[in-house]
């Protein structure tokens, strides 16, 4: 037995009410109740600074990037490329040229599948993913494996929602051409031991893609410490705009990768006989990009960094611990996903009541949760479920919102008797 250490945090360390004041959407009623937004794993609300950054771009700097000689285009280009640098710094990459802007996490995965894996995937080869992947880290590989006659292999997970590492080691073979693994599970909240998994893969010379959609808002990510080959994420899960994401890829990989889409901006020169492609990252950014999205993405990361990810993570861990205890105390509630290391995602079911009915009743109390399969049907099937209720927390959630959730769940019981 160790002596419990007092872990009283000073109340001034993280002022959640001040944070809430930064998010205009939180200040509204839903069905006559104060909005309790607990669907953050689907998308987060945006702080005023992100909204302002996007509108200021349209008000002042709106023009295309990388091509105009005029002032507005120069301002837009500088802001766009600075955004790339902000993302680079935030995730600990060495070089801004390792950051490719995408539409989403999904596009990042598709890009890696098409430009890096496809040319080196042969019949009989294997792609290795886990049982807890989002559909976006399953379907692109399925399509590719079908096309190439390769096999999609799946790392099993245990009843708590943790990767079975011994099985993972066994599944890593000479035929494995890539490992795709989610950093934080959107359906279970599990934080996977990606660093260890990457080490094991690299020992066999296998590159690894980390799906960081859910880890970006909750964890301090350092791609160089992780030593991942690819890291993909989306802005909207981390307080930024929708329609913009980023792919980090080691420069040595980017230099080898074939173009993803053809078009403007990804070329140096074009004749009808042939095209010279631009250097990475531009080689992978055909067409006019989501300029305001990229700039808004950077504003969101700066906002988060100003509070400090460790501080935010501590606040969210506290919320998760409190919510887990409180929700489990509601009769008939069963948790889905009880890994030792979890991010602020609480997936659960209530005996005899379908998640959709729970979602509708909570909504009538102003509480927004996700009810469904969370775009992760295989993981639902693993637990013999078709759906769960998911409450997912962000930096602006409070303990009193957990009380509201619990009161809402008691109402669900009342309605269903």
């Amino acid at each position: 037995m160790t002596t419990p250490i007092a872990t009283a945090t000073s109340p001034s360390a993280f002022d959640v009410e001040a944070v809430r004041a930064d998010f205009p959407a939180l200040n509204q009623e839903s069905h006559g109740h104060p909005l309790v937004y607990l669907d953050n794993a689907a998308t987060t609300q945006k702080p005023q600074v992100v909204i302002d950054t996007v509108s200021k771009f349209y008000e002042r700097d709106c023009s295309n990037v990388h091509r105009g000689v005029h002032l507005l285009s120069q301002r837009a280009t500088v802001a766009f490329e600075q955004a790339r640098t902000t993302i680079k710094t935030h995730i600990g990459a060495a070089d801004s040229r390792e950051i490719v802007f995408t539409r989403s996490t999904t596009e990042g995965i598709n890009l890696v599948a098409a430009s890096f894996v496809r040319p080196r995937l042969e019949a009989g080869d294997e792609v290795l993913i886990s049982h807890m992947e989002h559909h976006s880290n399953i379907v692109p590989w399925q399509l590719l494996c079908e096309e190439r006659g390769a096999t999609l292999k799946v790392i099993p997970i245990d009843d708590d929602g943790e990767i079975v590492l011994e099985e993972y080691e066994r599944l890593l073979t000479d035929r494995t051409k890539i490992v795709g693994i989610v950093h934080v599970s959107n359906a279970l909240g599990t934080i996977n031991p990606v660093r260890q998994m990457i080490e094991l893969a690299h020992a066999r010379g296998v590159p690894v893609l980390v799906d960081g959609a859910q880890s970006m808002p909750h964890l301090s990510v350092d791609v160089r410490k992780l030593d991942c080959d690819f890291f993909v994420c989306s802005a909207h899960k981390v307080y930024g705009p929708t329609g913009i994401g980023a792919l980090y890829a080691k420069r040595e990989h980017l230099l080898e990768m074939v173009p993803y889409q053809g078009g403007g901006d990804m070329i140096l020169s074009v004749t009808f006989e042939g095209t010279t492609f631009n250097d990475p990252p531009h080689r992978f950014e055909a067409g006019t990009p989501n300029i305001e999205g990229a700039i808004g993405f950077a504003a969101a990361l700066k906002y988060l960094d100003a509070h400090g990810l460790d501080t935010v993570a501590a606040h969210e861990s506290q919320l998760l611990a409190e919510a887990t205890e409180a929700v489990l105390a509601v009769p008939g509630v069963r948790l889905v996903g009880s890994a030792r290391l979890k991010a602020a995602v609480l997936s659960f079911v209530m005996e005899g009541i379908h998640p959709h009915d729970i979602g509708t009743i909570l909504d009538s109390e102003g509480i927004a949760v996700r009810a469904g399969h969370h775009c992760a049907q295989p993981v639902m099937a693993r637990y013999g479920l078709s759906a769960t209720v998911r409450a997912s927390f962000a930096m602006y959630n409070t303990a009193s919102e957990i009380d509201a959730l619990v009161a809402g769940l008691k109402k669900v019981r009342e309605v269903f008797g």
Binding site: H356, S386, A387, K411
Partner: protein
């Protein structure tokens, strides 16, 4: 809360708890699978149609309370009715839920308890999945989705 009572009426909760005609039929003349990809609800409808009359109907599946109760009540209502009558009831039911017609001539009887669903557009598909599936089975289609 009163809104929720409106949506989850006693009849609905009762059918959800104890769904009627919920079994695998031995020798159906028609079957169809219904799937709502949005929420993962799945319904399989079994029919024994003789001379244009639904002599027997049963179902299997899993879904929310609205979906389960709607399916259960549908089986009770259309049993013994002709295929044409069943289609007419579905039409009236659909109109009640989507608000196309304020007044319609079709007698919906017990199905009126689903009127509250109208206020919840995302849940309308939960109430109509079984009916779409029944329609598919009567048409001879093997599967249907609500998307």
């Amino acid at each position: 809360m009163s809104d929720m009572r409106e949506l989850y009426q006693e009849v609905i909760l009762d059918h959800n708890k104890k769904p009627r005609n919920c079994y695998v039929m031995d020798c159906p003349t028609r079957t169809a699978d219904g799937h709502n990809p949005l929420c993962g609800d799945i319904v399989k409808v079994y029919l024994r149609i003789e001379d244009g009359i639904i002599e027997e109907i049963s179902f299997q599946g899993h879904g929310c309370a609205i979906c389960t109760a709607s399916t259960s009540m549908m089986t009770e209502l259309v049993k013994g009715k002709s295929v044409t009558e069943a289609r007419e009831i579905f039409e009236g039911f659909h109109e009640m839920l989507t608000g196309v017609a304020e007044e319609q001539g079709i007698e919906l009887g017990k199905l009126q308890v689903f009127e509250g669903v109208r206020e919840y557009p995302v849940r309308v598909k939960c109430a109509t999945l079984a009916w779409h599936t029944l329609n598919a089975a009567m048409d001879g289609d093997e599967s249907v989705t609500t998307e």
